[in-house]
């Protein structure tokens, strides 16, 4: 048997043993979430409801909406309508960095909530919400106020959208709301969608940029965790682009409003922002291109594809120059790390895009990805967007409405249909498409959706990776098992990991994890079999 077949067989057996360990019904359901690349049928059931009592790492709609997408908008205040906890737990925890922009305002340090009390639950919280919005305006004077709902709000029937409308009329500041009650949907994913809708309906297109340039782009699905965005923007600017807005890392609400005037949306995290990308396409005929600035080769590839989209010789030449310069700068250090890390095995369980993005970076370093999976992805993130056409609109459609836009009347798209057709052809199908993670994976690697605690434990024990990359909820479990773990949500308070420079930072952190001196001391001398001899 060739080695890849052996691996497929071995991992199938491992998978089957996990499934068999469950009660029959649970096992049957989980079996559709654990797939071995190369075994034939690689359809991954994703975005399914979590089984009660099975410990998952997933969050809620509120976490996806306020925590991920709306939270990083720096000059708006996020006002959480609900009891204290939800707001507290989403206070700065995602490490979205921001510097105050033109307005000098940055409220990311603030956690503002209506802190509902029993009386608000019994008699309704609309009055308190209204008053809280006034207080925010008076005390903080932000550029916008965003109201997010947590679980109890939907149940007691507070109409936060009309409170927001009233407040906007009274106070003369933009106020809008998101009904992202935590019980909606199956994970934080539905919250991303709710947030995208809220931005489209209340913000996008409401302002015009002072001027435009031929190479204006928006960076979509980049939240500036650990400063990731700040490794990307300088590269783009060096080549000659102007970043008109970022959704939503280090974002100003005004930039988000002006975004439709860009020429191209480049998409980092497909999962969280593809809704907005699609709506931009429908409403402004503004196309999107999936990019990945994690990994050296991937960053270079992404930059080249962008240049190809713009069909501009000068831009292409600058792109090559910048890539060459950057590669030259990092080459020797990268070689060093490759020497230290080649052949090491990694598991990646993270997010809705990162498990794909980081595979490339690991491979740049010669590491082997033995397992990858997402916490809250959908089938298209695994299998590519072509599955979307075949999928029935699941029960999700009841939770969050898909807004379908027509081309906005009077809006002049940057490119004609014909131009876009030509660009699409030049990009060989990658414009407006995403092929998903699975395509990239090696034969025999495991693909696991919504990995739970039990499975983590078995897989780590059986496969003994050199590093397990996930989030804080898994980190300490895995480390107790003697395997180093890095957090790919918060970067273990390190990063940024994007671009050429970021690759080195990641490599250094991986080296640190693999070569931790502590491993040498795991067994106490009195437990080692032979005495040391120096007695």
């Amino acid at each position: 048997m060739p080695s890849s077949e052996k691996k497929i067989e071995k991992h199938r057996q491992l998978r089957d043993s996990i499934i068999d360990s469950y009660p029959a019904k649970v096992g049957k359901r989980r079996s559709r979430h654990l797939v071995v690349k190369g075994e034939g049928d690689e359809q991954v059931e994703a975005n399914a409801k979590t089984i009660p009592g099975i410990i998952t790492t997933r969050g809620c709609a509120f976490a996806g909406c306020k925590g991920v997408v709306l939270g990083p908008i720096k000059d708006a205040v996020n006002l959480v309508h609900g009891p204290v906890g939800c707001s507290y737990y989403s206070w700065l925890t995602r490490r979205n960095f921001a510097r105050p922009g033109e307005s000098g305002k940055n409220y990311l340090q603030y956690c503002v909530t209506t802190d509902m009390q029993e009386g608000d639950i019994v008699f309704g919280g609309e009055k308190k919400l209204m008053q809280a919005i006034r207080e925010v305006k008076e005390a903080l004077d932000p550029e916008a106020i965003i109201v997010s709902a947590t679980c109890p709000v939907g149940l007691i029937g507070d109409d936060i959208a009309s409170v927001a409308r009233e407040a906007e009329a009274e106070l003369g500041v933009k106020v809008f709301s998101a009904n992202c009650e935590g019980y909606k949907g199956v994970s934080q994913s539905v919250g991303h969608h709710i947030a995208c809708n809220a931005l489209m309906e209340n913000v996008v297109g409401s302002e015009e940029p002072e001027e435009t340039t031929p190479f204006d782009v928006n960076i979509f699905g980049e939240y500036n965790i650990g400063g990731d965005l700040w490794n990307i923007t300088p590269l783009l600017e060096k080549i000659g682009y102007r970043v008109l807005s970022t959704y939503t890392g280090d974002a100003s609400i005004h930039d988000l409003a002006r975004a439709p005037r860009a020429k191209l949306n480049v998409l980092m995290c497909h999962r969280s922002i593809n809704y907005a990308a699609q709506m931009f396409w429908d409403r402004y005929q503004l196309p999107w291109l999936k990019v990945n600035y994690v990994g050296v080769d991937e960053t270079a590839r992404s930059l080249r594809e962008m240049a190809r989209f713009f069909e501009d010789d000068g831009l292409m030449a600058r792109t090559e120059e910048v890539i060459a310069e950057e590669l030259e700068r990092v080459r020797s250090q990268l070689d060093h790390y490759r020497g230290r890390l080649a052949g090491r095995r990694v598991m990646l369980f993270v997010g809705g895009s990162r498990a794909h993005h980081f595979q490339h970076l690991c491979e740049d370093l010669g590491m082997e990805v033995v397992l990858a999976g997402y916490e809250f992805a959908h089938r298209d993130d695994y299998e590519g967007r072509q599955v979307l056409s075949g999928m029935s609109r699941s029960s999700l459609s009841k939770v969050v409405q898909d807004i379908s836009y027509e081309l906005e009347s009077g809006f002049e798209p940057a490119f004609s249909e014909e131009e876009l057709g030509r660009k699409g052809a030049a990009l060989e199908g990658s414009l407006l498409d995403y092929e998903g993670m699975n395509a990239h994976m090696k034969e025999g690697a495991l693909i696991v959706d919504d990995l739970n605690h039990h499975e983590t434990e078995v897989l780590v024990r059986e496969l003994r990776p050199d590093v397990f990359c996930s989030g804080i909820k898994d980190k300490y479990v895995v480390e107790k098992m003697g395997v180093p773990s890095r957090q790919l949500h918060s970067y273990d308070y390190s990063g940024p990991y994007t671009g050429f420079e970021g690759a080195l930072t990641f490599a250094r952190d991986m080296e640190m994890a693999v070569y931790t001196p502590t491993t040498r001391f795991m067994a106490p001398p009195w437990k080692k079999e032979a005495p040391d001899g120096d007695a």
Binding site: G59, C60, C86, D115, Q117, E118, I121, C151, Y183
Partner: protein, 448 residues
Amino acid sequence: MAGNFVSTTNPCRMCRPLGACLAFRGIEDSMVLLHGSQGCSTYMRRYISSHFREPVDIASSSLSEKSAVYGGAESLKRGVKNVVDRYSPRVLGIATTCLTETIGDDVELIIGELLRDEPALREVEIIPVSTPSYSGGHYNGFHDSCVALISRLAQGGPRGDGVNLFPGFLSPADIRHLKDVMDGFGLSAVIIPDISETLDGGIVDSYRRIPAGGTPLEAVRRTGTAAFSLEFSAATPGRQSAALLLKESFSVPAERLPAPIGISYSDRFFQAVSRRAGRPVPEHFARQRERLLDAMVDAHKYLSGKRAAVYGDPDFVLGLSSFLADVGVVPAVIASGGGGREFISELELACAHLEDPPEILTYTDFGEIARAAAASGVDLLVGTSKGNHIARELQVPLMRAGFPIHDRIGGQRMLHVGYAGAMALLDLLTNTIIAGAQDELGYGYSYM
């Protein structure tokens, strides 16, 4: 909810079920399940992990929109079955969340039905606790759970010579020290809950899903026969007192004390144990007290007259404030996200000897704390990591203590209680102040 505001800006408390998760974690072979949407469990797990740097498993009944409308009974039953199947706990705490409290799910009733249908589950002690976050905070949830554990599990019987100690929410290092103290007195004490190992474990040969340690179930049952109970809950209302509950139910004498932080409160604690047990304070601890006095004399020139703003959970802040006053630092602003009558009156007692009475803020937030600290002109802050923004704004040092500490390492290993704890806090406090002064020097480094 602070000052004249209805809104809360930068809260100074977490939500009630989080306290339940912490308390159940101190019971041997136990698990906890939050009845609500899964987001609550996920958030609390990440939060607790960020302080303790330990795995924290909290299950959820993962309610969906359908159960949010029609009630979560089915999800709860499935959740309980699956947790028991995967983890085989002996004790399973079930804490409610805002969602299920708002729906009005009757957890007792649902569990009753479940046990009727699945008799095998009766092997597990299932303990429901009502923890709506729209009233109270995490410290309430902690006490709620202790009360629930006692009311479910404690049994009477002939009076023995055991001692019950309800420490409230302290650090694992504190619990380890309290054990040493009780051992030192030669007492056989049950500490409920005991997070000393379960939230500060080592790397062991084989990973256990439920970490080793915690108060054994049998020990909790025996609490009804103890000689007496001590409880660090002076700032907590009596209805949240497990010690008082034992007194009512089984006539176990109860003494409620402030957490023994600082020399005054440690004196009260050692004195109480010595008096009740009829045994002298062991030499070892008496020596610790001597050394502490010596250290206080050494440190006084750095501390005298310094003004601090201190904040955190009511019982913990009471202890910290008393500690500060003990060593000559004026607790100028004392703040908590909770509070209440007991908290205020104990603080007034503790600060009665001070020339200017502290400003006490209850049910407050960091917006309010920042204003008060600025107005009062404090030299430093004492409290959780969450005050770091104010400290930067005011350009004063922050001495981290309490929960959560997620921007420094070792919060779980900080010792606060007893003479040894007072010594550790004293060194930290003094060095924080010295470092601050050194940083401000215009002319380079200097002995201070």
